[in-house]
């Protein structure tokens, strides 16, 4: 570091300047906005959650299980996703399907989102296109670790995000927050 950097005060002032610059710019815009300039954006800040940053179509969001026409899961419990999952957060238990052409069906399909790293390998590995990460849902939380485990029923109920990237399904309520 040179002397000017080591002097410290200069860097502090430049940082304060940046913050203050944003503050006054936002304040000016807010005043203009409230004085009737409706076309002026209120602030450079995105007003989450009313306002949302546009999501890239390839973004990996909360998983969902794809349904067949009759509403049963498309998943055949082949364990490819469970096998490839680097976080080991998928728990599948296989069962016999009454139709021998389908043969195999998951009786349990849990994803522990507390462990998931959102790598998308499960989607990649699935030979049946039965799991996708296109719900657009990014906000899921829980007060306990157990609440982060999403079951087959919860994952089957989810819909893909709309064309604007907005989630079409409500955020699933974790088990520990259900009334």
């Amino acid at each position: 570091m040179n002397l000017a950097q080591r002097f410290y005060l200069r860097e502090v002032l430049s940082g304060l300047g940046l913050t203050a610059g944003h503050f006054f710019r936002n304040m000016g815009r807010h005043i203009a906005h409230s004085l009737g300039r409706r076309d002026a954006r209120g602030a450079v800040t995105i007003q989450y959650p009313e306002e949302r940053r546009p999501l890239a179509p390839r973004l990996r969001s909360l998983h969902r299980l794809v349904r067949r026409e009759d509403g049963s899961p498309r998943c055949v419990a082949c364990m490819m996703c469970e096998t490839v999952c680097p976080a080991r957060c998928i728990y599948i238990v296989a069962d016999e399907h009454p139709n021998p052409e389908i043969e195999k069906v998951p009786s349990r399909f849990d994803i522990d989102l507390g462990k998931c790293v959102f790598c998308g390998y499960c989607v990649e590995a699935c030979p049946e296109d039965a799991i996708r990460m296109d719900t657009g849902i990014l906000e899921f939380s829980s007060f306990s670790r157990g609440g982060m485990i999403y079951t087959k029923e919860a994952l089957l109920a989810l819909e893909p995000a709309g064309p604007d990237g907005r989630p079409a399904s409500p955020v699933p309520i974790p088990a520990d927050r259900r009334p």
Partner: protein
């Protein structure tokens, strides 16, 4: 002895050896589906093609006996092209349902496609559809679509069991494996057709959809189901505890031993492991219905045994216990000075026997218990208990109610005891009456050796961790011996085997190393 050359390497083989076996001896793999060393030669799959010098076209290796001066090539372009074409033929009507197929991961179509196939498929027509998920018997499920008609299962039922339930029906691409009318695949060896099926056509109903095979670990072991001592591999699921309902032992598979079971295993042995993960397992020492730490339990055992005159203490060992543990029991009896030691409890129903594998004696280690000298009169011990001459009894493994004896006699005998100690894997009616219950490990949870009916000493290895606080019987007995003031330095089963090999004539000179993979005969 014919001397031939395969891929430039010379080898001399026994007369009558075919080219697949000759190449195997050189470490050269010739792919095959229908050939099995334990069955007759069918020549159905045509995959084992090799080039033989002066022969006009590739020849099947399975049905060609090695001849003197033969020059065989397995890697020529012509052979590779033939193998590729035959793989394409086999897979024409094979469904691409590997994800739901239980064989995936140990399927020879998958393995050989990656090694010898890798062609671009030219099949454009609809595949032929056949019945799926058809139960053939209590243990075997058929998927006719996946079958490549190698006929191994048909030959097994014709040649090995002689029951002949299976056949190939219809013609051409409509051919399928099936049962003869009115038959069920319910012979005592039906599980073997699953092992020899190279594809996913025959799968195990017991194992079906329980665990994917790539999650399994394996350990070499010995079947404890009867006195034959068939060599097996224990497949355990330790990586995915939520699969198979938490059962750790997923399946037993036969392991080749030319002297004992060859390639086979009976169904009773194959499906006889259920007790290992059963809810009735004892997992913690219990003293007067209260769980106690091991130290307390051992102290109580020592107190109960030491309180009485030597011959007021009885020990009933079990022929299901390994050699090491039986030796420990003998040392215990010597330390206590009691002669009231026995192990033979007559079964309620006499065991069945055949001339293939199954032995009437359903215990894996009766021979060793006799050789080690534990063969006393158990009925006499019970009579002595009833008349009060025996005050403390230590029962290993047996449920004495599950025997040919009258229930009332056993109840009276056990009821008259001052102390009944039970050591075993699972709770039963004897353990319910016991004052002390000491949990023992199942055979898959520990190291040890069994001596089969012929006197062949064979080693088994641990496949899973002991359940709960269970200990091997040699360890329990060793701790009691230590409390009784005897130098019990054994910290491994092998130490007891050293004692056994040094002091029992039949086992003299044996070590775990000299037993090896195929076992060693007692003298």
């Amino acid at each position: 002895m014919p001397k031939l050359t395969i891929d430039g390497k010379e080898i001399e083989v026994a007369p009558g050896t075919n080219l697949i076996e000759a190449a195997r001896q050189l470490g050269i793999e010739i792919p095959h589906y229908c050939y099995h060393p334990g069955l007759s030669i069918a020549g159905q799959c045509r995959l084992c093609m090799v080039d033989i010098e002066k022969a006009p076209r590739p020849t099947i290796a399975c049905n060609t006996q090695a001849a003197d001066g033969m020059v065989v090539a397995t890697q020529t372009e012509r052979v590779k092209e033939t193998q590729r074409s035959i793989m394409e033929f086999h897979l024409i009507n094979h469904p691409l349902d590997c994800p739901v197929c239980d064989q995936a991961g140990e399927c020879w179509l998958q393995i050989y496609y990656m090694k010898y196939g890798l062609y671009d498929p030219r099949m454009v027509d609809e595949k032929v559809h056949k019945p799926k998920a058809v139960p053939l018997g209590p243990h075997v499920m058929l998927d006719a679509e996946r079958c490549i008609l190698c006929s191994r299962c048909v030959r097994f039922c014709d040649e090995i069991t002689g029951t002949g339930e299976l056949g190939i029906f219809h013609r051409g691409d409509q051919s399928e494996i099936g049962l003869f009318p009115g038959r069920d695949l319910e012979n005592k060896y039906s599980g073997n057709v699953v092992d020899i099926c190279p594809v996913g056509a025959l799968t195990d109903r017991d194992f079906r959809f329980q665990v994917r095979v790539w999650y399994l670990d394996t350990a070499k072991s010995i079947c404890p189901g009867c006195a034959r001592g068939c060599n097996i591999d224990v497949h355990v699921n330790r990586r995915r505890p939520h699969h198979a309902g938490g059962k750790r032992v997923a399946r037993l598979k036969p392991r080749f031993n030319a002297e004992v079971n060859k390639w086979w295993l009976c169904d009773e042995g194959r499906y006889g492991y259920g007790f290992v993960d059963d809810a009735s397992r004892v997992t913690t020492p219990v003293w007067r219905s209260e769980p106690v730490p091991w130290d307390t339990a051992i102290a109580e055992v020592t107190r109960a045994l030491g309180r009485h005159a030597p011959d007021a203490v009885g020990v009933v060992a079990s022929p299901k216990m390994p050699n090491e543990d039986l030796m420990a029991v003998r040392r215990l009896a010597e330390a206590l000075g009691t002669r009231q030691v026995g192990f033979k409890v007559p079964p309620r129903t006499p065991g069945d026997q055949d001339d293939l594998l199954i032995r009437a004696d359903k215990n894996p280690n009766t021979r060793a218990a006799e050789l080690i000298g534990l063969d006393g009169d158990v009925a006499g011990i019970l009579t002595a208990a009833r008349s009060g001459r025996i005050k403390a009894l230590w029962v290993f493994g047996h449920d004495l109610f599950d025997s040919a004896w009258l229930e009332s006699d056993v109840t009276l005998a056990l009821g008259a005891l001052e102390t009944l100690i039970f050591t075993g894997t699972n709770a039963g009616r004897t353990s319910a009456l016991a004052h002390l219950v000491l949990p023992a490990t199942a055979w898959v949870e520990r190291d040890g050796t069994f001596t089969n009916w012929e006197g062949r000493v064979q080693r088994f290895r641990p496949a899973v961790e002991p359940l709960g606080e269970a200990l091997p019987e040699w360890d329990i007995v060793g701790r009691v011996l230590g409390m009784l003031g005897h130098a019990a330095s054994a910290t491994r089963a092998e130490h007891w085997f050293v004692d056994l090999a040094a002091n029992v004539e039949a086992f003299r000179g044996m070590t775990y190393q000299s037993i090896g993979e195929t076992g060693r005969m007692t003298q």
